[in-house]
């Protein structure tokens, strides 16, 4: 048995039956990281030594008959944008290369309260700006299905680490698709919760009205288990919403008879790779077979939403990243003498090209003379997008689209063309604009064996419905039993 192939719920079963120990599980993962990291490059900071120490402590507790939680000793990986007390949180930027958070993010407090073991901080595009993880200051993560391709982004390290069995699951963040798109490109499950379901406290801010923490898992059941851990109101994040406590594992049901599925035709048109489209059509036919009511409809917002996204996200980023002033966050230009030089030189030296590009765009759309034409207009389009989704959810329980217009692309093929990279987010950004939950589940592979993801979008705080929709499909089609990453060179 290869321990690292197992899902967390399978690990839990084997721990219960005493077939496995916490120490064995963590040893298996630490060895897997050692073996695969040289080719996958998913980690910015490995925490394997301290992880093994924690594992032994928890195992001792169990051996001494002490009671521990259901997730105690289960390893996890954390996107390097989530603050972890005493451990570097770099955001994959030279700016925060040596930044050590003085406190834990609320989601980390929850992970730690479960006594889960953080095996490392995972790679990403700098400040989560990108769709390929190539904009990391430190390294380029590879797609485990084909090492010459990108894992997607911005949470590419999280997606690749789960896909390559280097961690059983991971946390990521999603501002415009940064969980769902890499999950699709790496053949794993990725969930972006409703805006406000999970606390953003301790998440390094990119675009505060769009950012949300979510999960990467091997299957939908694990996704429900981990969402149970991280969801919940937090008074430290005033945008977090109190929806009471829910058990998302109760939604793991196979019966979807009568489920109303909306298929927006504009998300299957121009720019969508034919193989991706045909794979989605097969998946939708499967839903019909399973008893769902499927209807095609018009949701003509994708292009407006993408433009709106880049205006709003960059505007918010230009403001949020103003805090990096060369005074409080580790990096200061050695050349700077005056205060003004500290600001300018530190920022110019330590931000990467894409981050500067977005700060410039964001500053431009907020500047006098352009505010009304771009920023204000984008905020109106945001209302339009929300209204259109509201109308759709009067008729449908879920909306199904491709997660990404293409499968994973080759490293270097888009990194010098910002507009082309932005178009990769066309299917996912609307969900963030409207603050909705979305999940990506694998639904097949293309002719080159690269995974294809299906995005299931739900109404606000209807995570139960999308989890159920994803679970029923997964149980019927069993992607993980048919396909595995090959680490092709």
């Amino acid at each position: 048995m290869d321990i690292t192939e197992l899902t967390v719920h399978e690990l839990q079963g084997k721990l219960k039956n005493k077939e496995l120990t916490i120490t064995q599980i963590n040893e298996a993962y630490v060895n897997r990281i050692k073996e695969k990291e040289p080719e996958v490059q998913a980690f910015i900071t490995e925490l394997t030594d301290q992880g093994m120490k924690q594992a032994k402590q928890i195992q001792n507790k169990i051996d001494n008959g002490e009671k521990v939680g259901d997730l105690a000793g289960i390893p996890i990986g954390i996107k390097d944008i989530i603050c972890t007390k005493g451990v570097k949180t770099t955001c994959a930027s030279k700016m925060l290369e040596n930044f050590i958070a003085p406190y834990d993010a609320t989601v980390m407090e929850k992970i730690n309260a479960e006594e889960m073991i953080d095996l490392g901080k995972l790679n990403m595009d700098e400040f989560a700006m990108g769709g390929s993880t190539e904009y990391s200051y430190f390294k380029k993560t590879r797609n485990p299905w084909d090492l010459s391709r990108v894992p997607g982004g911005s949470s590419g390290g999280s997606a690749a680490a789960v896909s390559a069995n280097m961690v059983p699951w991971a946390l990521g963040t999603d501002t415009g698709g940064s969980i769902r798109q890499p999950a699709a490109l790496c053949g794993v499950v990725g969930l972006k919760p409703t805006y406000g379901l999970v606390s953003r406290y301790g998440l390094v801010a990119f675009a505060s009205s769009l950012d949300q923490v979510g999960v990467f898992t091997k299957d939908v059941q694990d996704c429900a288990i981990l969402l149970n851990v991280i969801a919940g109101h937090d008074e430290k994040d005033t945008t977090s919403v109190d929806v009471g406590s829910k058990d998302y594992t109760k939604s793991l049901q196979k019966d979807i008879k009568g489920l109303r599925i909306g298929v927006p035709k504009e998300f299957y048109g121009e720019g969508i790779n034919p193989e991706v489209k045909s794979c989605l059509e097969t998946a939708i036919a499967k839903y019909k077979e399973m008893g769902a009511e499927v209807e095609e409809f018009s949701l003509d917002i994708a292009k407006y939403a993408l433009a709106t996204y880049y205006i709003i996200a960059c505007a918010e980023a230009s403001s949020n990243l103003g805090r990096y002033d060369g005074i409080r966050y580790t990096y200061r230009s050695p050349e700077a003498k005056t205060l003004k030089e500290i600001y300018k030189k530190s920022r110019s030296e330590a931000f990467g090209a894409e981050v500067k590009r977005r700060i410039i765009l964001g500053t431009y759309v907020l500047s006098s003379g352009y505010y009304d034409a771009y920023y204000k207009k984008a905020q109106q389009v945001r209302t339009l997008v929300m209204n259109e989704f509201n109308k759709a959810f009067e008729k449908y329980d879920v909306i199904i689209t491709p997660t990404s217009p293409t499968t994973a692309f080759k490293l270097g093929s888009k990194s010098n063309n910002p507009m082309e990279m932005y178009l990769a987010d066309i299917c996912t950004v609307s969900v963030n604009i409207a603050g909705l939950p979305g999940i990506s589940v694998p639904c097949g592979v293309d002719s080159e064996g690269m995974p294809i993801g299906m995005q299931i979008i739900g109404n606000k705080f209807c995570e139960e419905t999308i989890i159920k929709t994803a679970y029923a499909y997964e149980q019927e089609t069993k992607f993980r039993e048919k396909y595995k990453p090959t680490f092709k060179k």
Binding site: P102, I327, F351, A378, T383, M386
Partner: protein
């Protein structure tokens, strides 16, 4: 709308960025291309629609204004590029 060199320099200055010559050229092209695309928002049917500033209902969230101490001073200061007597150090601001 055509983006000029002066405009890029003005924006970079507002954003506290210093651009090298080759960066100026590159960002003019990038910004132009992205703005040409972003102009599509002006075709969206938004007549009479209000603006939305956040994903959820905009309302004030109140809590008691209580002092809570954060005791990890060392943790905060370890991120200071320069520090002195438990303070973040910067060059002289006024002559």
């Amino acid at each position: 709308m055509q983006v000029s060199k002066e405009e890029i320099l003005h924006i970079a200055n507002l954003a506290q960025l210093e651009l090298k010559d080759e960066e100026i050229e590159k960002y003019i092209l990038n910004l132009q291309e992205i703005l040409d695309f972003a102009n599509i928002v002006n075709n969206a049917p938004t007549e009479g629609l209000d603006i939305t500033i956040g994903a959820n209902e905009a309302k004030n969230i109140f809590r008691k204004d209580e002092v809570k101490t954060f005791d990890n001073i060392e943790g905060l200061l370890q991120n200071a590029p320069e520090q002195d007597k438990h303070m973040f150090k910067i060059p002289k601001v006024l002559d």
